[in-house]
Symmetry: C2
Subunit: 636 residues, 2 copies
């Protein structure tokens, strides 16, 4: 195995400069060079400027024969609101493997939402000397995938309300005549997509003129129950005033007002479809079978019933190709899909991981990140993503920080934008040791899937040796394969060489197959309860609404799907203030929804907002452009 | 002058196949070849796949010295709802000039909105053998400019409502402390953008601690009057249920509900800014000074007051670069910006035209399209676009069809989706002759700007020689420089060679300078009335709301701007049913709004919807993807 030709030597400065300054201090390598290292030829990708390229899915067909690399997932302990450097560790680990350990490696990460970029959190390209670059292109638009999702999601939404409107204002006959208009010769025909609905209705006719008047009604009238609509509009902006809205108040809409809401785009089912699909044909089917609500008779209505599944696929046809970028040290990165891990399934795409595993080949490594704590990100990686992909991870990394462990040990509240309490800035081994219960539960939960667990302790300058050693000890006691101190934020790949070695050893020494937390063929409640137990809950409590929905989805035949819990990332439980490893609580399920196209049932645990807001002084106050150079400034 | 190396010979079939079939029958040339023909080197553009490239604005600095080509604008007579082939003629003319007349030529067109593509109208790449290709990429996403506009528009919208919310729930002091939070050392500072507001308020201090409590209040409290907000959210989807909505109904928004609406994205002021800007620095200033409404004291509130002008520019930094594509015959096309001509100013961007004029150089030609009829598209081209660009067109083409002229002569109504009346399919010279009053007024109005007018008669297979001759005679009588029959739809560039020769002669023989319809230094009403007279109106009638707004904009000092009328495209008047060349009517101005960043006042003439709807059977029913080949099908 030969090291990447394009590896770039980093000049590291102390103290660590601002992220954007580090990102801008490095001239990125032309992306065609990065592609060349991966043995991708020009017909395998489309350039998007000089530093981004979309790798075409068709490459999978050509490299089908080659072996897969090792598959590593990076999760974390329960984080503070400041984040514990999971993306940074993912990137740093890969910089170590590619630039220092002579390994073929690809980093797989999610595309960040522009909501948080301009809101509170800032960008998501990693940090310090472990970043994906160009950082501004990574955080803004990228290659347009989230915009494509927004467009597709909202086309479907418009199709729903407009269809209800037209059905309410037309006779069956008029409706049918408009759905199947005569051509120049006066002949009516069905468009291809209509045969999907006809098949669903059991109508085996091909000529519109042959339908009985009863069949005309069944075919033309979806009869959507407005109160059953679960499909919402989306926007990739933190716009809290769209959390609950009334639409249809214009005079032309004839009083057909309806309460609904916007979600942030990354919460769209279409994002989940993109992340979980395995091919263009599979995506077409998934998009078509997305359920938007029910008919008044209680039957699920799909995108294909509305005639729009094909158009949605057309809107998503480029989005299915992952985007190739690079780390600060010139190792390759595939960016693809961007669901949040709290309100969605929180993992980058199956197709990016599959392409990456083939590109690195046997002996190489693919490092993929699962959002937030391992309770949600890694759990969904295993039980949803790996279930659909058929892939098995050999190693699961859990990122921990002294700061978060102290919080779990009983330290004062950590609030974004406010100075840290002194407890976090000076040595306190006891707090750290107490907090390790959180780490320990994440380790044992993750180990149960069969992968070897490596704990990555992401070092801050205020951490002490005694504190760090306490974590190592606790991690090994809890069953970790290894626990390693890393300084990739300050030193780039060089700071994660030990982690790289540990991860490689973990991959080579895995002994168990992938074991899921629950089988698919138990009922919805049993699956929810299996996950709740992994959180430490003693039971689950369902609202009436949740009971009703479970009953409905069961009746509709959607029981055999995996579960995607929408739960706070700040606690194993539903209560963000419960730190450490809480037990004995009852998990409240407020509502249950279904993403039939993506392929999961998602219970809402307590109150979960699917549309963030902006603070009084959002990040955008700092962001501007240097109009002389065209460079972005103030992005963090 | 040498002919383009990349010219492609078209194999023409009769009858003319479907647009997508023609588009798919041709293998596009790699866009880097098209760029090479224009003498663009690799650092001048960014590839977006194989057939699209963004030409970087910086190229303008490098070619500043070279001479400009001739500048040709293509407008039309008042159209039927089916469209009269203005885009097709624009493309066909360029194919003739580039592929048959050995001219350096660039076509400048607008990016189509995805709303109509999936709604009623279908795509906008031209038609028959005169198209921009790849047609699907042209109609879908392109290089993301409209998505960037949507994102920027909606970030500003979220900033407005959230700011009102935070101001309503915080004291002056708390607000100020959050806007200028202390850093790690406890020191507060202003971000750069805040100095724009401080300057506007006449506060010459640089340290937040030095502000008096009165200054703190003035600085922190924008005190936006919710009823004055003119900034709406946008979406590039035909979603009629968003024409009037109520937002802020979530429990966390504490009852701060407000009525508002979504417009289609191309109606966003940011689209107009993109179309009218001349440089990155100019765009930064325009975006910052966009007015979103007033303070309760009546002062205009801008994007920069909200701290977001820089972030909007960052979101738009790639969108400012025009997209290079190609025609069916391999001539270059610049696609950029896409405002509708009825509800917006209807012209592609100034920067694309400027780049194109330099790229073709002296003796070459740039053909740019102005939306809908010349009453709105060409009028705004002259009085708004040319006023801001400083460019002068030598020739104005007016596209006419026998079909539309018959309608203006008193023919039966033409309705999209319904079969044409027999009057349109058989010879009727009298109807055509009567209809030429419409053409004649467009000619004399356009001639008044000083350009030579060439009428392009876009031939349909049902047109007769007598009908076509009647139009030629009427056009020359009305003062046209020439009137030419063209068959580019059926024959490609070969069918527009005579038009190409006429346009070239018109350019070479122009004698008059550009004369505007109105000067800027008269008042708003005088300007509106000058335009109304060009429509044939005998007077203008203002609603109370319009009077109030004119009075307000006058008080705020926004009188010296050009006027952008929002008026139906189906008549010179406000009433779509008034065909021909109506006179004696009174033009009703229902409301007056302002796009201060873009730089115009826009009166709403009668009822104009800024959000289209979907029909019972939208175009999307036909659109799908062939999952085996990845090819789009059914796009029209």
């Amino acid at each position: 195995m030969s090291s990447s030709k394009t590896v770039r030597k980093l000049e590291v400065v102390s103290p660590v400069p601002a992220d954007i300054d580090i990102a801008n201090s490095v001239e990125p390598i032309h992306i065609s060079e990065i592609a060349k290292d991966l043995k991708l030829s020009a017909q395998h990708y489309d350039l998007y400027g000089k530093y981004k390229a979309k790798v075409l899915l068709s490459v999978l067909d050509e490299i089908q024969g080659s072996g897969d690399g090792y598959y590593v997932v990076v999760g974390g302990i329960t984080p503070t609101p400041l984040g514990e450097g999971k993306s940074t560790t993912t990137v740093g680990l890969c910089q170590a493997l590619g630039a220092f350990l002579d390994k073929k490696v690809v980093t797989c990460v999610r595309q960040p939402s522009q909501g948080p970029t301009f809101g509170i959190k800032g960008g998501a390209a990693g940090g310090g000397y472990s970043q994906v670059i160009p950082m501004d292109e990574f955080n803004l638009h990228l290659t347009g995938d989230i915009h494509a999702i927004t467009a597709a999601n909202n086309l479907l939404a418009a199709a729903i309300d407009t269809r209800i409107f037209h059905e309410n204002t037309q006779t069956d006959k008029a409706l049918f005549n408009r759905l199947c208009p005569p051509n120049k010769e006066g002949k009516r025909s069905f468009s291809n997509i209509m045969f999907r609905r006809l098949e669903k209705l059991g109508i085996a006719k091909t000529n519109p003129e042959d339908l009985t008047s009863e069949e005309v009604t069944k075919f033309s009238r979806l009869d959507i129950d407005p109160n059953s609509i679960t499909w919402r509009r989306v926007m990739d902006v933190n716009d809290r005033f769209l959390r609950k809205i009334t639409i249809g108040q214009g005079p032309d809409e004839k009083g057909m007002v309806r309460e609904t809401a916007f979600d942030i785009s990354v919460a769209s089912e279409i994002m989940a479809v993109l992340a979980l699909t395995t091919s263009l044909a599979d995506m077409r089917e998934r998009l078509g079978k997305m359920v938007i609500g029910n008919s008044k008779a209680g039957d699920p209505i799909t995108a294909d019933d509305l005639g729009v599944g094909g158009a949605l696929t057309v809107l998503m046809k480029d989005a299915i190709n992952p985007t190739l970028m690079q780390t600060l040290e010139g190792t390759p990165v595939l960016v693809h899909a961007g669901p949040f891990a709290n309100i969605a399934h929180g993992n980058s795409s199956i197709v990016a991981d599959k392409i990456a595993l083939k590109l690195v080949g046997a002996g190489g490594l693919v490092v993929t990140e699962a959002g937030f704590g391992a309770d949600i990100g890694t759990e969904k990686f295993m039980n949803i993503k790996c279930r659909y992909s058929g892939l098995t991870p050999q190693c699961a990394v859990i990122v921990a920080t002294i700061r978060a462990l102290k919080m779990h040990g009983g330290g004062p509240q950590v609030v974004a934008g406010k100075p840290l309490d002194q407890a976090y800035l000076s040595e306190n081994v006891t707090l750290v040791e107490s907090g390790c219960v959180n780490l320990a539960r994440h380790i044992s939960n993750t180990k149960a899937y069969g992968a070897n667990v490596v704990v990555a302790i992401n070092v801050f300058s205020t951490d002490t040796e005694a504190e760090l050693n306490a974590v190592k000890t606790a991690a090994l006691d809890a069953g970790a394969f290894d626990a390693v101190i890393c300084t990739h934020h300050a030193h780039g790949g060089r700071g994660a060489v030990d982690l790289g070695i540990a991860v490689q050893r973990a991959c080579e020494n895995v002994t168990e197959p992938l074991k899921f937390l629950y089988p698919l063929d138990i009922n919805i409640k049993e699956k929810i309860e299996a996950i709740a137990r992994s959180y430490g809950a003693k039971g689950v409590e369902y609202s009436d609404q949740a009971e009703k929905q479970i009953e409905m989805y069961t009746r509709q035949g959607f029981t055999n799907l995996p579960i995607c819990m929408a739960k706070t990332q700040y606690s194993f439980s539903h209560d963000a203030s419960k730190k450490g490893a809480p037990t004995g609580f009852v998990l409240p399920i407020r509502d249950v929804r279904a993403s039939i196209g993506a392929g999961f049932i998602y219970p809402l645990v307590g109150t979960m907002s699917t549309m963030p807001g902006l603070p009084t002084r959002p990040c955008f106050y700092e962001i501007d452009i240097d109009t002389a150079t065209g460079k972005v400034i103030g992005l963090s």
